[in-house]
Amino acid sequence: MAAWADTASTDTWLNRLSQSMGELNYRGVMTYSRGDHQESLRVTHGTYNGEEYERLEHLDGERREVIRHGQQLTCIQLGRRLDLLFHRHLLKAGLSDLDPFYEVSIGEEGRVAGHRAVNLNIKPRDELRFGYRLALDYDTGLLLRSEAFDASGRVLERLQFVEVEIGQPLKKEWLGDVQSAAKTAPDPLPIDRVIEEEQMPWKPQWLPPGFALTLAPHRPNDEALTYSDGLAVLSIFVESTTAPLPSGEGSAMQGATVAYTRPVQISTTPHLVVVVGDVPAATAKRVANSIVWDKEQQSEASNIK
């Protein structure tokens, strides 16, 4: 079954990973941990009656889950329903293009969640991004464990299957019931286009090398530019605020995700630039500080939502 695995290159493993996460049937329990915080989640993925389903259930604390059925993504929390649209197939980062920015090597074999696992070490070639250690199922390439670490080698967060079954047919009751959620939710908005830099009155003048604009859903009042280098993703939000401008800047971190906030004045309207991403704080700050406004649209910039 895994004859390919014995001689596989890092590229093969990365492509295999990318493929398996989207194509395989799997169901298991994983832990997500950062610092002293840890929670358990059940993950179900696969096809049922020819349609693709994906479900993530938080098993600790209040009940909340995310269900994807085809292109519709639904977040449920305490009966409240939030529909999001999901064009997953629009773009999938090409993991094999990482080489200019990350050094990928195959580590020792191990065992994760009862599965024979291959470890991939992904070190950044600069200080602008984090590193990753991935453990992939030897037979299928499924991601069994993922760790993000900073320049000192400190693990920032870890996602790991505790137990996972791969390749079994899905049962209907595993897929969740989106319909049972509150009926009061608005219909999902159609996505007829994706945001491009030209559509925004602002854009970053600096991004870490290799970060390219990705496709993102376009909804009123929820506009952002999202960039990725194939592993790390960062989003830039620029929003007007009715409150007086805060006088400082701020950054906070949760796991491997940094949020950097910076107030700016455009014409007479206070705005906030917020950069959220899985990158070091210095990177997020540099991106936020590089935002420039299109001069012609500067007078309209106060209309940004």
Partner: protein, 214 residues
């Protein structure tokens, strides 16, 4: 002649040592940077770090990287600003770090001032971490809050972060409000991230609150 270059080298060595120990100031850093293309300085830098990290029990993962590149990147990004959110359960503020500190402790060493791994929700940790007091002005903004860590500064700061006044802050303390705002941005970011990497909905494992998205 060799005495002169030798003493200069010693001086640089001292500066590097001070930087590694979090005791250098910005001027010293810039001086180091100016001479950072001599191989001996780089080697000294590396030796000091390896020594220090071995003492501290830190695994130096990135020792192979070119230090000057990191320093320059950090300088370009200037100082990391400060925020502290007291008792935050989810988002942990980053400690106050000025230029030299961001290089010496956050970017290069990474073990002390930049310590998300501890995530113990205690802002006091941020304040007690070694920080070089190289305060920098942010001329484009009101200087009312200087970039130093502290609960007061933070509260004031985040109390104002209410784009579009979409969230009524009345009943919330600034910490809760800040957490809520950050969770919203995280959710919106995660939705986009899920489109663009192979983990799909697993990305949402990082989002503790799924409501308040819009």
């Amino acid at each position: 002649m060799s005495d002169v270059s030798g003493s200069r080298h010693d001086k640089l060595g001292e500066s590097i040592s001070a930087l590694v120990d979090g005791e250098a100031d910005e001027l010293e850093l810039r001086r180091l940077l100016a001479s950072a293309d001599t191989q001996s300085v780089r080697n000294t830098w590396r030796d000091y770090h390896l020594q220090r990290d071995m003492l501290a029990g830190v695994d130096m993962q990135f020792a192979h990287l070119d230090i000057s590149q990191r320093v320059q990147a950090a300088l370009a990004a200037e100082a990391l600003p400060s925020v502290a959110v007291a008792g935050s359960r989810w988002w942990r503020p980053l400690a106050s770090v000025a230029v030299a500190a961001s290089v010496a402790t956050a970017v290069v060493i990474g073990a002390r001032s930049f310590s998300p791994g501890t995530d113990n929700g205690n802002a006091a940790v941020a304040q007690t971490q070694p920080v070089l007091n190289v305060n920098r002005a942010y001329p484009q903004f009101s200087p009312a809050l200087s970039p130093v860590a502290g609960n007061v500064a933070v509260s004031a700061q985040y109390n104002d972060l209410i784009p579009n006044a979409g969230v009524q802050p009345v009943a919330l303390d600034p910490d809760q409000l800040a957490q809520q705002r950050l969770q919203q941005y995280l959710l919106r970011h995660t939705e986009r991230a899920a489109l663009n990497n192979s983990q799909g909905v697993i990305n949402f494992a990082k989002v503790s609150q799924l409501n308040n998205a819009q």
